[in-house]
Each structure stands twice: as C-alpha cells, then as structure tokens.
C-alpha cells in the first residue's frame, strides 16, 4: 500500500476503488493526509498505482517514500 491517489470528488474515489479492486488490486478509501494536501477530501491508498490509466477524476498520484511523497502524476491545470 505504497501509493495514494487523490480525486476531485468523493465519488471519483469510490468509483476508482471499486474498479481497482475488480481489477485485482487491493485499495482502501481514507481522508487525504494533511501532510499531502491542505485540502480535505477522500483519497485511495493502493499497492499498484494506476499510472497507465489515470482518469479525468484523478487529481494526483503519489508514491509514499521514507522522505515523504513523490508525485508520479498530476492532472493538468490542478
């Protein structure tokens, strides 16, 4: 569970979680960690990042490292 995906809406997170689990990847919903963003909302923590299939609903994908968060993807103009 080394990746966090943030979304523009709560439902975007729910939808992604369902689809990602259907694809065989464990995922959980949780509030966006404070040290990742000052915005509050829902994110998904997962062990496989959706790097090949980022949807319009995704704001960013980060990898959790010992040093903090490493941004892997960020939506345009966000």
């Amino acid at each position: 569970m080394n990746y966090i995906v943030t979304f523009f809406s709560h439902f975007g997170a729910i939808r992604f979680k369902k689809e990602w689990e259907k694809a065989g990847h464990p995922a959980i919903l949780m509030p966006v960690p404070r040290n990742l963003s000052s915005s509050c909302g829902t994110c998904v923590r997962c062990s496989v990042p959706p790097l090949n299939t980022p949807s319009d609903e995704m704001e960013q994908i980060v990898k959790i490292t010992a040093e903090g968060y490493q941004t892997l993807y960020r939506a345009d103009n966000s």
Binding site: M1, F8, S9, H10, F11, G12, I14, K17, E21, P26, I28, L29, M30, P31, P33, R34, S38, S39, C40, G41, T42, R45, D56, E57, E59, A75, N77, S78
Partner: protein, 394 residues
C-alpha cells in the same frame, strides 16, 4: 418496539448501503487492516490542542465582551458584517466583526508561510453561492453556525441538542448523495492575484474599521448582540491565531462527523470534542455555565425548528465540503469557490434580516420557517441534479 428497531435498521441499511458494502470489503482484507488509521499521534494531539484553544479563546472573547455563548459564530458574525456594510438595516446586529477578518488573514498568512497558498476555483461557483446562502438561512433559524452550536452546548444551552440532532441528520443526508455520485466538478488552477482578492478585501475592511468607522453601521452598546463585542485588537488577534491554526489542522465541524461515518476516522471529531470540553470547563470557571432550555442567551426553545435549521445547515455544508469556518479558512488559502461561498453566507445573513427570516429569542418567524422549507427543497434539488442528472446525460 422490535418492529420499530427493525424498521430503523432497514432504513439505515438502504440509505447507507454503498458505505456499508465498502466497509465489509475493507474488513475482509487483512492486508488493509490497520492502514485505516491515517493520522499520526502528532496530528491528533495538534487537532485536539487547537480544538481546546478554540474553546478557551471563545469563552475569553465572551469574557471580553462578545455575546454569551458566541465567542465565535461565523454565520452570526457574517450577518453582523453585512449589517455594518449596510446590506441589512436591523440595527441590533450591525458590527464589522474583526474575528472574520482575522480568520481569513490568519489562514492566508499561514498558507503563504507554508507554501500552501494555491489559487484555485471554478467548481460550480454559483451553486456554491446558493448553498452558502441557504446554509446561512438554516444557521439563522437555529441562531448559530455549527461552531456556535458546540459553544451553546458547552454553555449549557439544551436547545442546541436539537440543533446537534438536526446537524447530524443533515450530514447523513449529504453523505447519502456523496456515496451516490454527488460532485460539483473539479477545481482549476487560477492566477495568484485571483486567490488574494478576498484577503485583500478583508485588509481594506480592517483599514476602514480602524480609520473611518463613521462610514460603517454599528449597533449601539446595549441595543442588541451587535453592540456586544470584545475590543478590536483582542478580536482580531483571536481570529488571526485561530485562522492560522485552523489552516494548519483543517479544523472543520462537518468533517469530524462526516469522516467518522465514512471512514471511522475520528481525528477531526477529536477537535469537535476538544472545543466542547474546553469551552465547558472554561464556562464553569468563568461562571458562565447555565444549564437548561429556557432563558438561554440568543436562542429559542422551538426544538423542531432548531433541528430543521441545523439539518439544512449540515446538509448544505456537506455538499459544500466544509462548515462555514472551513469556508473562511479555504478562502484564505486561495480557494475562490470558498470565497464565493462566503459571499453566499454574507448574502444569506443580509436576506435573513431584510425579510424577517432570522429567529429571535421569541422563536422562529413564519417567513423563516417557509425559507427553511424552501432551502431544504433547493438543497435537495442541487444534490439530485449534481448526483443523478450528469450520469443520465452521460
């Protein structure tokens, strides 16, 4: 009795099936267990500390002159500000509250200092204006925002229990729509100056308040809640400090209950509880504790309309993504959607007094009851349109 309990169970299962299903899936996976706890001890300690400070400062503001059980009330203070600017003519509630200026600027400076200031917006601003408007109507039916609801409880005002019940129901209604697809669409990055407009306006209002107060409307001392206020510098400092800390912690009266229901995440709820406990202890120490339902300061005893007012407020706040306090804080860190929401709250406060919608110690008005019913219908419509219609168009 059993039938009643069973009916309630079925009702809640239907209402929260997406959530319940999600919880069942999560608990099935051992790998995921334990990762639900997302907040560090430091974060919990911080939010509990900030919550406790909010309670202490709120009682201190009352000690220094703010109305009873109203150290902070975002809806009331925006209503007073609307009065000071001449947007409504109710002489009893007119004062340019420095706490509001302080909260926005405190958040602004904290966000700048931590490099978190980010101008963004474009997520259905007019819908947010309307939601903000009706949240203000709901709050002024109850006579307080969610923060004041907690402060009223801490002061012994039993009527706030009805408000709390309605508030929780409103949040549950909002969560129902969140789980079924509600979204006001994404935000977009905006230019830096765009995000600074509201903080600059607050600076200008502060300059106006200090240098040319004659241009503003003020309630005379003893002529109403607007006439009761702590000294300007104390109010401003209280707002600045709490604005900065609320930006740091994301303190929100709605998020506590929402996150607990959605994720069993109780960090934010800790802030809610800390405000309640610290304000309660401070009220006891200051001899402000006055338990009961009748004779409570700036409140009425109509339980149904106390509950319905806060139901409207809670429902609207979930659809907006945060309570009125959180909207001020977000507007300070560059969120122009929240700035528009603050304008909606301001307009709602002005309308509530121009058209006799706000309650008084005597109880709710007929026009106010009609406005709350209309507000519930409008908020439901907004929720349905932004939950179901886009999918059908799909």
């Amino acid at each position: 009795m059993d039938l009643k309990i069973r009916t309630c169970e079925v009702f809640f299962k239907v209402l929260y099936w997406p959530y319940v299903k999600n919880r069942l899936q999560v608990t099935e996976s051992d790998e995921l267990r334990g990762t639900l706890m997302t907040s560090s001890k430091k974060e919990r300690f911080l939010i509990a500390g900030v919550g406790a400070l909010v309670g202490i400062v709120s009682v201190l503001l009352v000690f220094f002159g703010n109305p009873a059980n109203m150290g902070f009330c975002i809806a009331c203070f925006l209503r007073d500000t609307a009065g000071a600017l001449g947007l409504h003519q109710t002489a009893a509630v007119q004062y340019l509250r420095p706490e509001i200026i302080g909260l926005i600027l405190g958040s602004f400076f904290m966000a700048l200092g931590r490099k978190e200031f980010a101008a963004r917006g474009g997520s259905s601003p007019m819908t947010r204006f309307v939601l903000g408007f009706f949240v203000a109507i709901g709050c002024l039916m109850f006579l307080g925002c969610p923060l004041r609801m907690v402060l009223r409880l801490a002061g012994g005002d039993g009527n706030a229990l009805w408000g709390l019940a309605g508030f929780v129901m409103g949040i549950l209604c909002g969560i129902f729509f969140l789980n079924h697809g509600y979204s006001l669409k994404r935000t977009y990055k905006q230019s830096f100056p765009e995000g600074t407009v509201l903080p600059i306006i607050e600076v200008l209002l502060l300059v106006l308040l200090v240098t040319a107060p004659a241009l503003l409307h003020f309630t005379e001392a003893g002529a109403g809640p607007g006439g009761n206020h702590a000294p300007l510098l104390i109010s401003l400092c209280a707002g600045l400090i709490l604005g900065a800390l609320a930006q740091r912690t994301r303190l929100c009266m709605v998020a506590g209950i929402r996150d607990f229901v959605l994720f069993r995440e109780w960090t934010m709820l800790l802030g809610f509880a800390a405000i309640l406990v610290s304000a309660f202890v401070c009220n006891l120490l200051a001899s402000f504790w006055n338990p009961g339902f009748t004779g409570q300061p700036l409140s009425h005893t109509d339980g149904l309309w106390n509950a319905l007012g806060m139901l409207l407020a809670g429902f609207g706040c979930v659809l907006l993504g945060g309570c009125p306090l959180r909207q001020l804080i977000l507007s300070g860190e560059g969120n122009t959607d929240s700035a528009v929401t603050v304008l909606g709250l301001l307009a709602g406060g002005a309308f509530a007094h121009n058209f006799g919608l706000a309650s008084s110690a005597g109880g709710p008005t007929t026009a106010g009851k009609a406005a709350v019913v209309i507000g519930l219908a409008v908020v439901c419509l907004i929720a349905c349109v932004n939950t179901f219609v886009p999918k059908k168009q799909g």
